[in-house]
């Protein structure tokens, strides 16, 4: 007997035979596929970004977030260990922690005052023995049989990750050696949060996942980049893909710009732009690394990105909020060791990205344009053959959609499509 794993979708959904060079538009607007992703991806064998270790430095500190759409709370225990649980009371299922962040000796559900230790184990139940000898829990009630659902946690480079699956490999194995090394380059020293905000984008989360991996669009849509020569495709740069295609790094070296005639010939509209800044402090930068890389975007499947543009270091965490809505969090970082002058440069460069970012604000609408353009055409697919049809790293060019194809390769394998 053939087991039908996706009864709601029926048998009609078949990925186009061209493989990862096509993405059927249905995956961006089908609520059943969205529900499957919550189970197979976010609650599956992946590491989900939860928060920074430095967000919860002190025992009792907690922080709430979501894995997919599942509410989660991360805590720092009395002994300094980090725990994560589904933010849901074992009694009736209410949210236990309501605030974004706080400090508490124990976590208490406001509904019936069930209280939990910082590791999510149940400590006490209100009126367990009833009042005046009446009511109360049955005699065989055992607090050890009830707890907040635990989430497995690992900290890597100061980032706290969580997974629901026992099968998820350690974070470094999940990332692979190249991806781990690049994350270490950017994050493996004491971090300092310089500011945060979020941006609601009205599109499926995967459109932003594609967008981050799309080095082809970056300098065409975000023309501020090209104009001020922060990032152009004729700079020395390339793309590295992780083995499964899930994660990637795209990098460029600003110093090695050899201007190519194609920019002028392609009539890239930034070429017409006067490149002298009236406020040059925006792009004042210093070389932080010996490898010459001045611009990089690193993605980690499913929904995290580390951005390093000049000295602007930021995490972008994009949380699905429904099949056609995503909350994109911008977490701007510096290092504890930064001088005041370096912090000032990171602050000035923060104008480049974020909800009002001079080189990023377009992403707030472009993915929505795709959402609106595709939602009534589930059986039509996108076409992604820039740089060929293969899913492989490209050491010397970013005029490619290789990383987007990588995403779809990884997506199909985890979704079993």
């Amino acid at each position: 007997m053939q087991v039908q794993t996706t009864p709601n979708r029926g048998n009609e959904f078949v990925w186009p035979e061209q493989g990862p060079t096509r993405a059927p538009f249905r995956v961006f607007s089908d609520p059943e596929i969205y529900a499957e992703e919550q189970e197979k991806i976010f609650r599956g064998p992946v590491w989900n970004f939860l928060c920074l270790a430095t967000d919860i430095p002190t025992p009792g500190d907690y922080r709430t977030t979501t894995i997919g759409e599942t509410p989660v709370v991360v805590t720092r225990g009395e002994d300094g260990t980090i725990n994560a649980m589904v933010n849901r009371c074992a009694h009736k299922g209410a949210l236990v922690c309501l605030k974004k962040a706080g400090n508490a000796q124990r976590l208490t559900c406001v509904y019936h005052a069930w209280s939990y230790n910082l590791d999510g184990t149940l400590k006490a139940v209100a009126f367990r023995n009833g009042l005046k000898g009446k009511g109360g829990m049955p005699e065989d009630f055992d607090v050890k049989q009830h707890r907040m659902q635990p989430v497995r946690v690992e900290v890597f480079c100061g980032l706290v990750f969580g997974t629901f699956s026992d099968k998820t490999e350690p974070v470094e194995t999940f990332l692979g050696p190249q991806m781990s090394a690049f994350m270490r380059r950017n994050l493996d020293r004491p971090l300092r949060v310089l500011g945060t905000h979020s941006q609601t984008i009205r599109n499926n989360w995967k459109l932003y996942a594609e967008n981050l991996r799309d080095s082809y669009h970056a300098t065409l849509l975000h023309t501020f980049y090209t104009t001020f020569k922060v990032n152009r495709l004729d700079m020395d740069g390339g793309i590295t893909l992780a083995d499964k295609g899930w994660h990637h790094v795209s990098f460029a070296r600003r110093a090695k710009l050899e201007e190519s005639a194609e920019y002028a010939q392609a009539n890239v509209h930034s070429a017409a732009y006067d490149s002298k800044l009236a406020g040059p402090a925006l792009l004042e930068a210093w070389d932080e690394f010996d490898d010459g890389i001045t611009h990089s975007i690193q993605t980690m499947f499913p929904n995290l990105c580390v951005q390093f543009t000049l000295n602007s270091l930021a995490l972008r965490f994009f949380a699905p909020r429904g099949v056609d809505e995503t909350e994109l969090f911008w977490i701007f970082l510096g290092y504890e060791q930064d001088t005041a002058e370096q912090t000032q440069m990171r602050v000035a460069q923060s104008n480049l990205t974020g909800a009002a970012g001079l080189v990023s604000l377009e992403d707030g609408c472009i993915n929505e344009f795709v959402q609106r353009g595709t939602h009534m055409s589930p059986n039509v697919s996108s076409f992604m053959e820039m740089g060929g049809r293969k899913v492989e790293s490209e050491a010397s060019s970013r005029a490619t959609e290789a990383a987007v194809r990588g995403f779809w390769k990884g997506y199909r394998s985890i979704m079993d499509f």
Binding site: G279, A355, L361
Partner: protein, 169 residues
């Protein structure tokens, strides 16, 4: 009544001309943006003026990075230039509603001014959204015969910006 100053309980006397001047500055600023006369925007600031747009959460945590951070009029002019030639977005207009100003004179000259705002954004499709709610924390100074912002800190109550922000608040 020949009283030239307006005094509120517990607050120092503010010259009526100053109060009206600051009100006019607020109105002119808001209406310029509502009419997308964005080229006028940097001119409301002193040369070394600061424009910061951030969230209540960042202010409370004393974090320096918000959403926009222009130090000096030049950085504002670059944003205006980017608005006209580089940035891509769906056309929309703002409608600012500004609350009355709370004015405190500063010993070093100028005034600390706080006022609330709400901005409704209307897209070309006709969709209207309450886009931003918050307050302005201003330092207003007299330069020649003009009142200008030496600093305007825009603090939005929400952590979240809907879609994008390209026209200043």
């Amino acid at each position: 009544m020949d009283q030239a100053t307006v005094q509120t309980f517990g607050a120092p006397a503010i010259d009526a001309a100053v109060r009206y001047g600051i009100q006019a500055l607020h109105i002119d600023y808001a209406h310029s943006l509502d009419d997308i006369q964005i080229d006028k925007w940097p001119r409301f600031f002193t040369d070394d003026g600061v424009y910061r747009l951030t969230t209540r959460e960042n202010m409370q945590a004393n974090l320096p990075i918000g959403i926009v951070h222009c130090i000096g009029r030049g950085m504002m002019e670059d944003r205006v230039k980017a608005f006209h030639t580089a940035n891509i977005f769906e056309p929309h207009v703002y409608n600012h509603l500004i609350g009355p100003a709370d004015i405190v004179p500063l010993t070093e000259g100028g005034f600390q001014v706080r006022s609330n705002f709400q901005v409704v954004r209307t897209m070309e499709s006709g969709r209207m959204d309450l886009y931003a709610v918050g307050h302005y924390d201003d330092v207003v100074v007299v330069e020649g015969d003009s009142l200008l912002f030496k600093e305007r800190v825009v603090v939005i109550d929400s952590r979240d910006v809907d879609i994008l922000l390209v026209i200043p608040l």
